[in-house]
């Protein structure tokens, strides 16, 4: 089952083209009055991809049917919203105005929710969220620790609006920044504000956005304003959630960018693997054109700008600016040397302004609230907030928006609730395949562009993958190189051959065939690849290897010298054993083992036959008494 954007025209959707800014303001006022007058119950059900994977469609169907059954379908509004960020606990359901929060809602919970909460105003106790860290029951969204410590200036509207309704976006103040940019500011003013805000690109490099805009505006030609929604960093999905959940915020940012540099045509380059993002953004374009906010003569200002969507084909390197533009032109996406920058000669050999999804979503906020307000958030060198994708071995996973400079500890422990199953934190990986692994000693570091670079990692697009004692750092390095080997476009030798060579060395180490000198060899090749590659994929490819060597050298040495994988990941380098002191004889492992490798009587210590064991880890993950140990 899939969710279709609601194509039906609601009464409030019959709005005709807005001929001028007064018409937009009038529409906004009437929408706000209407929603106040309605004053009715609103159920916001998350229809983002994460919740969708847990079955939003079924819950939605059950909810609509149940409301109808009670004859209250007209008194309660049901909104299919975008991602609320707490996807792991999906499907998420929030009841407004109180903000009652029900996570992990299933179809069969719906009768209780409608009967108890909607009709009688009581909580359904069994559905109330229990904070895994404090074990406390929390009934309201704003009290959930995961949300409480966030500052959601970019992501906050996601849970409140229906992404397929432009009216929803307008009623929460949407397109007021566009209005300001069109009628109260010159292109120069806009660029100045963006410069003064200190905004840096959220797509990876952290390049100052205002400077990029100013450079693009200086070069003559048919300028293009482009949005990078390729989001290739595995583990990061904030761009997807923004495009799916609040597409108009990205669109409004792009139109403002187009005004600033004088562009009349643009593209959104989005991954084919993100069908819902493509759908919701296409819908947003259609609606913006309908209201005269996109296309010719926007809001009667005389300014024209329109956008096409281009779907990428699942190549990580296409996120790189020159490769992306080659791909837009219908070619294989191979990077070129950047002697001439794309702001001067990019798409179709014309000046092209490329920014990331999240960067664009920051623009309306800056124009609305002013550069000074924006610059008051964050650190000296990194302003505003950043959305991180907090995933991996952490209790609360999801999207987290915090001011730049927030410490890793706050993000992982206070918001993320720490490491599950009382395991030990080992590292956090940031920056995706170009980034690095940060060990415990830096947990109190404030996260911003410069601090991350300082410890050998990168901001990247904001992926934050938490790793615990069961993660092998050599395997992680091998994993990333394997990724990069597949993704290297292969046109330059250092990248193509160097990555292959490093991967071979790492594969040998993980297989127990590591030799003395391998670590030094990796460092040497890494240095060469970083210096001699053409594009950012190659120059940053050694990062995951070099940072793991820097901070976890002992783990490499254990693999090479002792032929041991202390984390119990590299199969040839460890075995499982049952700790006789801890085993209670609960028989769980013996029942679950697919190879019948475990035997023993009830309430007696069990035995594990190493000959039969295939190291699948089922017993290790399952034992509640930590009696299965890695040797």
């Amino acid at each position: 089952m899939s969710l279709k954007p609601m194509e039906k025209t609601r009464p409030d959707q019959a709005t005709a083209k807005l001929e001028n800014k007064e018409a937009l303001e009038e529409l906004r006022n009437s929408l706000q009055v209407m929603s106040r007058e309605k004053g009715k119950r609103l159920i916001s059900l998350c229809a983002g991809s994460g919740c969708g994977a847990y079955g939003t469609a079924k819950v939605h169907k059950a909810l609509i049917a149940e409301l109808a059954k009670h004859g209250i379908q007209d008194d309660v509004e049901v909104k299919l919203s975008g991602c609320h960020g707490f996807c792991e606990k999906g499907p998420i359901l929030v009841i407004h105005p109180e903000g009652i929060f029900y996570p992990q809602v299933k179809e069969d919970h719906i009768p209780d929710i409608v009967e108890e909460t909607i009709k009688n105003g009581n909580l359904v106790k069994s559905l109330v969220f229990k904070d895994p860290a404090s074990k406390q029951k929390i009934s309201h969204e704003h009290d959930v620790p995961f949300y409480k410590l966030q500052k959601r200036i970019i992501f906050g509207n996601n849970g409140l609006i229906d992404p397929t309704s432009i009216e929803d976006y307008i009623s929460v103040g949407g397109y007021s920044a566009l209005e300001k940019a069109l009628f109260d500011m010159t292109p120069g003013d806009i660029i100045d504000q963006v410069k003064k805000s200190g905004l840096r690109g959220r797509g990876g490099g952290g390049f100052p956005t205002g400077i990029k805009w100013a450079t693009c505006a200086r070069h003559a030609g048919d300028r293009y304003v482009i949005c990078n929604a390729d989001e290739g960093d595995p583990g990061a999905y904030m761009d997807r959630s923004l495009l799916e959940g609040n597409p108009h915020s990205v669109l409004e940012g792009m139109i403002i960018g187009a005004i600033a540099v004088g562009s009349h045509e643009g593209y959104v380059y989005v991954r084919h693997e993100y069908p819902l993002a493509v759908k919701n953004f296409s819908f947003a374009l259609k609606n913006a054109r309908r209201l005269g906010l996109l296309g010719e003569n926007i809001l009667g200002s005389g300014f024209d700008y329109d956008i096409h969507i281009s779907r990428g084909g699942g190549a990580f390197v296409c996120g790189e600016s020159t490769a992306l533009m080659a791909s837009l032109e219908g070619n294989p996406g191979r990077p070129r040397a950047k002697y001439i920058h794309t702001v001067e000669k990019g798409f179709r050999e014309n000046p092209s302004l490329l920014n990331n999804v999240e960067t664009w979503a920051n623009v309306p906020v800056i124009i609305n609230k002013g550069a000074d307000w924006f610059a008051s958030i964050g650190t000296e060198g990194s302003k505003g907030t950043k959305i991180f994708s907090l995933v991996g071995k952490v209790v609360n996973t999801g999207l987290v928006e915090v001011p730049m400079g927030t410490s890793l500890r706050t993000i992982i422990y206070d918001i993320g609730g720490g490491i599950p199953k009382k395991k030990k934190f080992k590292a956090v990986q940031t920056g995706g395949p170009s980034g690095g692994c940060i060990p415990e000693q830096f947990l109190d570091m404030g996260v911003d562009f410069d601090e991350l670079t300082q410890v050998g990692s990168m901001m990247g697009s904001g992926g934050m993958i938490v790793m615990d004692q069961d993660t092998c750092m050599v395997d992680v390095a091998r994993y990333f190189l394997d990724f990069l080997k597949e993704e290297s476009c292969g046109q330059c030798n250092p990248c193509r051959e160097g990555i292959k060579h490093m991967l071979q060395v790492l594969t040998d180490i993980c297989a127990g065939d590591g030799k003395e000198g391998d670590i030094e060899l990796l460092e040497e090749i890494g240095d060469m690849v970083a210096k001699a590659s053409l594009c950012g994929l190659g120059t940053s490819a050694p990062n995951p290897v070099l940072t793991t060597i820097r901070y976890f050298r002992d783990e490499y040495e254990a693999h090479i010298r002792d032929k041991k994988c202390p984390a119990g990941v590299c199969k040839p380098l460890f075995y499982y054993e049952i700790d006789a002191e801890k085993c209670t004889g609960c028989t769980l492992c013996a029942r679950k083992c697919p190879e019948q490798a475990i035997s023993g009587e009830k309430k007696k210590v069990h035995r594990l036959d190493r000959e039969k064991c295939i190291k699948c880890g089922i017993c290790y993950d399952g034992c509640k008494f930590d009696a299965i140990v890695v040797k």
Binding site: Y54, E231, Y237, G313, G314, L399, Y479
Partner: protein, 160 residues
């Protein structure tokens, strides 16, 4: 498979028209065709060459460069196991192992009955729900070996 007979040439024309037969839209056109047949039947390549005015070599190089395009027939259901970092640390390998065992094929292969193709994908943006798989356009999250196999069995039943 007997391809030629089953290609809906009118639909192919409509797709090409939708993009104004633009050379720049080559990848998107191939993706749309792929959405219909789960691969790009080689018979359509001469048509693309003619209508878009591109060289055959470009069509092949675009088709081989982008992973979403296949020139080989693929199964009715394309099962993508996410092996992105977040899913990797949560045991994506085990899901892949289980599905390989269940379907008796390796990653990248298609079952003999042309029902399933098993592929690995690097992140589909549902990282907080990992490990995840997609089957065509549907996403399934929070899986382990058993639930992954059960999910696939569900598609089997759809067919029979």
């Amino acid at each position: 498979m007997e391809n030629i007979a089953t290609i809906d040439w009118d639909e192919i024309d409509r797709i090409i028209e939708k993009y104004d037969a633009s050379r720049e839209a080559l990848l998107m056109i191939m993706q749309d065709i792929s959405d219909m047949y789960n691969y790009v039947p080689p018979e359509v390549i001469p048509v693309l060459v003619e209508k878009l005015g591109v060289r055959k070599s470009l069509v092949y190089s675009v088709a081989t460069f982008y992973k979403t395009i296949s020139l080989e027939p693929r199964g009715k259901y394309i099962v993508n196991v996410c092996t992105g970092t977040a899913c990797h640390v949560r045991g994506a390998d085990k899901i892949m192992d289980a599905l390989q065992d269940h379907l008796h094929i390796k990653e990248g292969e298609t079952t003999d009955d042309l029902l399933f193709t098993l592929e690995a994908v690097r992140c589909i943006g549902c990282c907080a729900s990992g490990p995840v798989i997609t089957v065509n356009q549907e996403t399934h999250g929070g899986l382990d070996r058993a639930t992954a196999v059960k999910t696939i069995k569900g598609y089997n039943e759809n067919v029979s």
